[in-house]
């Protein structure tokens, strides 16, 4: 299978060619090597999981993808082009959105305002129009509000639309954060532990939303998750990291049978 081939998954979804490729990424913080010489790719339309024990460098990897960290070595290729060193807001403009491990919502704003922030880059009306807030400025606001309301409907958070997000329970905050990321209409959506701290029911809901997002919007998803059963159910392919090194890369079945992965998770007899 080459980089441009597409294939069909057992459940009937078409996975396209390579969207993003990480080539020999090395990231150091002073003397600490967070990521060491890791290469993997993310294909158009797939759900890609990054797993590994704590401190494996998973979150660092996401931060490299969305430009928050700049790796010392290695290249990031996005849609067939080598990505130069960019600021996070420029990468956001390229269509990469993310959620955070520790929810990073805007606490002083309501749910709908938080979702509206995702439309920031798509709103073009200048300062003067913003000041007047009539005509084109208002029309623009309404267009984006309508789109946000669709996403709010999609994620079933209509009832908390006007609530300040600071007051919401944890599970709902996670969902609002997903809504905000979706409002950006990303091509690649990065989810950093979307199910951390949730109960089984909330996890099921979230899994359903992730599958629906992938299915309905065709969004490519890269996610970090600790819950193995969720990962194995959702992901098309899995990368396993341990102490900044890559242990395995393959389908969930392959990864589960990989001896190095089993050793890392269960420990080895010494």
């Amino acid at each position: 299978m080459t980089a441009t081939d597409s294939y069909v998954t057992p459940d009937g979804r078409t996975i396209g060619g390579v969207m993003m490729e990480m080539k020999n990424i090395t990231l150091r913080f002073g003397g600490v090597v967070a990521i060491k010489d890791i290469s993997f790719d993310i294909r158009e339309g797939e759900i890609r999981a990054i797993i590994g024990p704590n401190g494996a460098g998973k979150s660092s990897m996401l931060n490299v993808i969305n430009g928050f960290y700049h790796p010392q070595e290695g290249e990031v290729w996005f849609r067939g082009e080598k990505r130069p060193s960019m600021k996070p807001y420029q990468i956001a403009a390229q269509g990469i959105a993310r959620t955070f491990q520790n929810i990073a919502l805007f606490h002083g704003m309501t749910t709908v305002e938080n979702v509206m922030t995702g439309r920031q880059l798509m709103m073009k009306k200048n300062f003067l129009w913003q000041m007047l807030r009539v005509g084109p400025a208002m029309a623009e606001e309404v267009v984006h509000r309508r789109r946000c309301e669709e996403i709010i409907d999609f994620l079933e958070i209509q009832h908390i639309r006007k609530e300040p997000v600071g007051n919401l329970p944890y599970g709902l905050q996670k969902r609002v954060e997903l809504a905000r990321a979706l409002a950006m209409e990303p091509k690649l959506l990065l989810l950093d532990e979307p199910m951390a701290g949730m109960n089984v029911e909330e996890k099921e809901d979230m899994s359903r939303f992730i599958l629906d997002v992938n299915d309905q919007y065709g969004t490519t998803i890269a996610l970090i998750e600790h819950d193995m059963s969720v990962v194995m159910d959702l992901a098309d392919r899995v990368v396993v990291l341990d102490y900044g090194k890559m242990l395995a890369d393959g389908t969930p079945d392959e990864v589960q049978k990989n001896q190095a992965v089993i050793d890392a998770y269960l420990g080895v007899e010494h």
Binding site: N66, F68, K87, P88, Y89, A92, A93, A97, R98, F100, A104, L105, F106, H107, G108, M109, E113, M116, T117, G118, Q120, L121, M123, K125, F127, Q130, M131, L132, R133, A137, M138, E141, V142, R145, R146, E149, R180, M184
Partner: protein, 362 residues
Amino acid sequence: MFYREAGQYNTTYEKDMQVFPIKQDKIGIAIWLVLAYLFVPFFGIPGLEYGFAMNAIMIPVLIFTITTIGLNILVGFTGQISLGTGAFMGVGAYACYKLTSYFPDVNIIVLILASGFVSAIVGALFGLPSLRIKGFYLVVATLAAQFFLEWCFIRVGWLYNYNASGAIEVPQREVFGWIVTGPSAEPVTRYLVVLSILIFLAIIAGNLTRGRIGRSWMMIRDMDIAAELIGVRPLTAKLSAFAVSSYFIGVSGALMVFMWLGAAEVESFDVNHSFLYLFMVILGGLGSITGSFMGAAFIWTFPIVLKELGKSWFGINATVMENVSLVAIGVMIVVILIAEPHGMARLWQIIKQKLRIWPFPH
């Protein structure tokens, strides 16, 4: 009882995004406007001498409301603390003074609104450190701006046209035949000018803070890292907040000198005033335009009310009462901040929420 939203449906997003979506609130605002435009100009404040009500209460409160809205944009909406407010008002005032001496024939209201731009540029310039530093360190940087600008107001003779007193004195100017500035301007004319400019600027502030730009400010305030990852440029967001905030503050400074004080020296723009405006913002409510009105009105009128009460009820002289009011206002600030850290605007919101469902508790 009367404050209910039952039966009022917002069927479009335009309607849903109004500042006052509830009918009763609209009526309330209409009443305030009628009072401000039709009652106060003729009758002043009932029970108070007309000139005193205008010169000591209404005009300064309206002017400081503009200052407070401006500072609130920076502190409340964008989360960047500034102690340079007094000096930025000074920039507006001196700029307006210079403009009046260069363009004596131009409408003074245009000049006042234009002087805000000078202050906006200076504000954005002193806002540059905010790109690198936050919190206490930014306070220190703005404090440096305060002292530097104060020094300029004293040492740079060009700013006050090298006159011997070192003060700027407001020339007499007319707009459509009405004397608007200078010693012979009627309080009522000045009041109406200030009121109209305030309403104009408050609407602009309300529009800006609800739109894309306002959201980018609040994103920076609430979670700057996430804001950047969503696509907000910190440079644009922070500097635009500094510029807009300083514009408001500059206009209010020009109004303060031209419509209220009549003449001013550097003392009118010192750091104590910066603190006063910060109190108005915090007490009124961070991130609330309505709160800015409340904060400015409260902080300004409270000592006056206390002084009058002390004099007429207990016969305490004014100097003593001044100190008492300082103590009292300090206590009030502490108490309000403990009881409701989001200020009077939040208290008002809670009251409205309770009214809406009264007599049921929830």
